[in-house]
Subunit: 170 residues, 2 copies
DNA sequence: ACAATCATGTAAGCAGTTACATGATTTT
DNA sequence: AAAATCATGTAACTGCTTACATGATTGT
């Protein structure tokens, strides 16, 4: 696959396709506000990325008219839509398990004493429930439903594999 | 956090802690055999990583006696166990949602025509079921239970959010 | 006036990637 | 004899990271 999009590139293109013309700054903010640390939305990631997409002619930039400040507004091109669709429908990557920091740790968690383990799982469960509430309350968050469902699955998982079960009742 | 372990470093240390002294080559093989593309297990990743862990004195290397071939066998040190425990019990990272290539795509999947969408979801569901069988059948895979449960959740997720439901019956 | 936010980038560094390279040993 | 596997690395590259830097505009 030549010039296959990274996941960040794909996600950025998808946001532009969904919301229309956007500035790099707004994109950075949107990704930074994501509940996942995976999407840092740092300028050091976004600005070079937009320059890349522009060079590959997957987006076009023009001076922003709506905002008072000078800014470059990017829109997706036809080539961009094509590349986006290829990325979205990439079964090889979509079917992959990806990376789940909790899943990875659960595999090896028996290596730490039971007391620490229980406290750890309780705290993770607490934070997950908290995150679930935060996401459910946030009207702006587009991916609300999916995120909530994912978090509910993690909670079910924690219930099944330990958390309070492993720490107190056995 | 100074010198905080990366997830690959943590996972490598955990494998050594769990299985005892191992060579870089064996580690690379173990990670390469993982069902997730995230763990490539490429030598370009493992060998420099082991050199790093050795420099930081989290592992010690000695010539392998058991194997016929000359090889360096690495064991975890006391400092290594301490760092491993810190990594394992890192709630900030464990509570993060991480990266799920399917979740990311589902958020934007409405951007592609319904026909492609349905085919895509069916294929992902098929591969997930396949992967589930493969993992369940593999006696050697240590993380079998966790992986299977995770995959079952993904399947439930796919049932809920489309797959066959969205493609045929509506 | 001062702080916050908008907006755009650069610089150095790091942990990965793919591809290449070498040579010994074991299996067929 | 040839192929596969064991075993260890290096080289070039890429996409991110953190930190820094600049300046305009807006809100208090």
């Amino acid at each position: 696959m030549l010039g296959m999009l990274t996941d960040l590139e794909g996600a950025v293109l998808a946001v532009i396709a969904r919301d229309g013309a956007t500035t790099s700054y707004k994109l950075a903010r949107e990704f930074a506000s994501s509940p996942s640390q995976f999407w840092s939305g740092s300028s050091g990631a976004i600005y070079p990325l937009m320059a890349r997409l522009r060079r590959r002619e997957l987006v076009v930039g023009k001076p922003d008219a709506t905002g008072r400040r000078k800014a470059t507004s990017f829109s997706i091109t036809i080539q961009g839509r094509r590349e986006l669709e290829t990325w979205l429908l990439d079964v090889d990557r979509a079917a992959d398990m990806g990376f789940d920091p909790l899943r990875t740790r659960l595999i090896f968690l028996h290596l730490v004493p039971a007391a620490e383990r229980a406290g750890f799982l309780d705290e993770v469960a607490r934070r997950t429930a908290e995150l679930s509430l935060r996401i459910a309350a946030d009207e702006d968050l587009k991916a609300r439903e999916h995120s909530v469902s994912w978090l509910n699955m993690r909670l079910a998982w924690l219930r099944k594999f330990g958390a309070s079960a492993g720490s107190r009742s056995g």
